[in-house]
Subunit: 184 residues, 2 copies
Amino acid sequence: MNEPTGGYHRPVALGKNYERQDCSFARALELLGERWTLLLVRDAFYGVRRYADFLAHLDIPRAVLAERLRTLTEAGVLARHRYSDSPPRDEYVLTERGRELWGMLHQLGQWGERHTSAGGPRRLFSHADCDAPLDPRGVCERCDRLVPPEEVEVRPGPGARDDLRDDPVSRALRQPHRLLEPLL
Amino acid sequence: MNEPTGGYHRPVALGKNYERQDCSFARALELLGERWTLLLVRDAFYGVRRYADFLAHLDIPRAVLAERLRTLTEAGVLARHRYSDSPPRDEYVLTERGRELWGMLHQLGQWGERHTSAGGPRRLFSHADCDAPLDPRGVCERCDRLVPPEEVEVRPGPGARDDLRDDPVSRALRQPHRLLEPLL
DNA sequence: GGGCTGGGTTCAATGAACGAACCGGAAGAC
DNA sequence: GTCTTCCGGTTCGTTCATTGAACCCAGCCC
């Protein structure tokens, strides 16, 4: 990213880019539109940070996970951060650039809730400071401000199912949790 | 879509769904996250409605286009509409459900502009009634309201390149144009 | 030294995307 | 009434990404 407008080229012309579209949607989708990528970013907002936890929560092939983490890190959406020197261990955290995706991600999720959740919302998002729900745009219904992700709390909604998976991340998400706070 | 929460299954378990995620992001991405789909929806907002025009503007394989149009129509994002009886011709227009995607799409595009458009924005979006620009959330900077797509005007920005493609849709988009109005 | 954990890489099989060719109905041109 | 073009597809062989199982290695822990 951050190449001059005319200079955006991947080393090999793979089938995943949209080179002939002069359009920022296309540029954004080359990075974010690959399979698994947005679910990975969602998990990062939920507070998932470690390779093994993404793996357990997403059922993603290991090679694909490694590649997506690399791509997102190179694009500056995630940053690799050493949290232990012995043994050497890194975690992946959202950068400011990554956190800017919250609004778009929340709207996508709300659209999905409206049109695919017949049993009621699977997750509820609220403004932690006000303890009031967010509207579909991500605005707090009490204080009427657009809530940044650090102030958002997620909790399971009436449509949630806890029988589908049983990994540490899913278990932790059955408790109310603030976005971006480490989950485990 | 609109299946009860527990009953969402595609007839064949293809590699494009995220069945084991109890999550509305995953449900939304099963539909919208496939290659080309969001660019197709973007074009629908720009006013593209006919098979041949999508084809000319996107450089998408014909079979893929036909399949995406079918999927989006079945999901209720697009509606097929007869505009001529002889010869029998249909066009694809966004439904209300599809138009609800505007906010999310605009935020995605703005994120792309900020991080991939070194030469300045490729497209400018403004509130047609106020003739004032939209902020990254899609709010008019003059009247301070969230602008619905019917009131949005697109025009080329300083970072636009008109040398990349020369199809009827791209040519039409070099003029200011209101979203959702037929382009051709 | 032997096993465990975290974070990967390798590789064969599968399945989606690509793109060029083909197709059929309905005008319109002659 | 035949010829051609346009539109909106379908068919099909090739290419490329995803999958999942196996393997790998470094560094604890005992």
